[in-house]
Amino acid sequence: MADSPEALQKSLRLYKMIGGVLFAGTVITVLVATRPELDFGKHGFDTADMVLGLLIATVKATLVAAIFMHLNHEKRMIYWLFGFGILAAFFLVALIALAKWDPIHYNGFRTGVPGSEQGAHW
């Protein structure tokens, strides 16, 4: 991490540049999402828009984490701590996904128990 005044001054230039990239990334995301003539993929919101939007967001988030939060030159322990948090979050999402795509799942909440009155509404 920069500590000397010269190194800090150099870092400040980098921070400004990253700030500019983040602004630009945001503008691109919004233009692509709101201007039909700049729309990717099919007309309107679709998978291509989602992938592009999340890709830009991921790049922006990576820049914030790497440069502003100094993760590009941190101690190993920080990588372990933060990396574990991210992995745990993904693991928990995967657990829910297992339930969501379980082939033998109970669908009664939406369709109602067969023969019951509740089912007739859906």
Partner: protein, 544 residues
Amino acid sequence: MEIPYIVTPRKDTGLFNSKIAIWLFLASEVMLFGGFFSAYIFLRLGADFPWPERTLPVLPGLINTFVLIGSSVTVVFAWAALKMRQWGKFQFFMSVTIACAGIFMVLKGIEYNVKFHHQALRLKDYAVVEGHLGYKVKDGVHVEHGKEPTEDQLAKDSKGKKIEENVVNFEAAEISFNTVRVESPWVEAMIARATEKNATIKLASKIDLKTAPDKVVTFDAGTELSLALLDSIKEAHLAARKNNGAVRTDNLREQWVKAHEANPGKRDWELADQVVIDTAAIADKLMPEQPAIIFSVEPATTFQFRPRDIQEAAESGALRDGTALKGKLQESPMVFHYVDAIDFRHLVMKAEEKGIDPKVAIENSWLLKENHELKEIWEKQQVALAQLTAELATHERVPTEKDKYRIGWQEMAYYSKTAISDVKITPKKYAMPKVKEELNEEFFGPDYKLRTFPHLTVPRGEVQFTSKFAPAWNTYYAVYFTMTGLHGLHVIGGALVLAYYLFFGKKMYLSNPEWLANRVEIGGLFWHFVDLVWIFLFPILYLM
């Protein structure tokens, strides 16, 4: 006592202690927000209604994104200023950071406020209407068509608030309160309404209760309804219940003892169906209970209830607190002063499930059959849709479901002021025609002084569900408010910590500037995390 490793790093970790602490905290935050993001994903994938994509106003969200990115830059500049021992610059950059937090929260507040005042209605046929409700005028007041009622002409509730035209009117001749559970403000509102209508709500018959075996309390028939009266009856009723419970328990114990004496060696479960309370033996020890208190309303008076508070039928009603009404349900239409959007996507979804042609379903919807203004607007929308379909076809594209089945407020305003022969899409825009928003409309929604929108009266029988654009409306809004609300709390918390460094950090700066720099770095790390979360929230909630 000196706190170790606040400036110098520990040898084993290579870090000062608070840095490890903040990263541990941020790791737990990742899991917290990860949970909400996963909830969002699964709610969206499993939604049984058309997900309201790209429904939030983009400009406030965009400004907030710029504001947070800007504040991420300034907070790191503030930290660098401290490292270079430039107190003045630190103050400047930190002040800008905190100001950014303020701007963010103000914009978020405006956004929430607009949502909480915007009405949504799902009809029985699944057509959705959005807009603003009118306010009830006082009984007997007539407002000329096309004119707005004055403040004096508007009816007010018992708290002096204007009443939206979304109430259930019930003419009650008899009200039966649940003795134990009564919602006091509703009782007060009933008393106020009866007073306003020169009616009285009186105890229908005499009630004799005992608060102790030898103490009788009498409530005479004809006593006027008051909270104090209900409280007194409740007190006596609860005293009786307490006594009766004890008497029954004692008797049951005796019965068990007798059963065991008569059947030595038998187990409890073998005796259970023989052991019953001897009601004859305890009859004289029991005190009268009064689970419900019946009042008569003379003359029968129309009370107004919020739809979510009452389950109504033609001759009866039940409030959420257990109060039962007898009388006559009055006409209780829901009146939209302005309909600023209609949406048939849910109706189409339901029609397709049943194998019905969406166009036929829409043509037969209650909205188009009963409201000629909306019917005309729909016909104009069909003209524009045909033009858009033709234009998109040249690029081998097709209109979206939103283009086809939703008329948003900008489009509604355009159709309202445009003759059907003049409806035209703008070439090469690849969008349905709409009015250009004024700057204030980007934040606050349509300016009703500037725009014209249809009125709509919906009979209560056509209403399936109604809500403001609040968490109750659908799971999109539930998850939107949860995630942005939690994020907003983080913004407030982070700003408070940074403000503490700004306003109370001078002493530490003078004594140990490196310690303060480390503290600001920790606060800054949290602030960057808040920015990082928003970087995902903005596109997901506003643009997808």
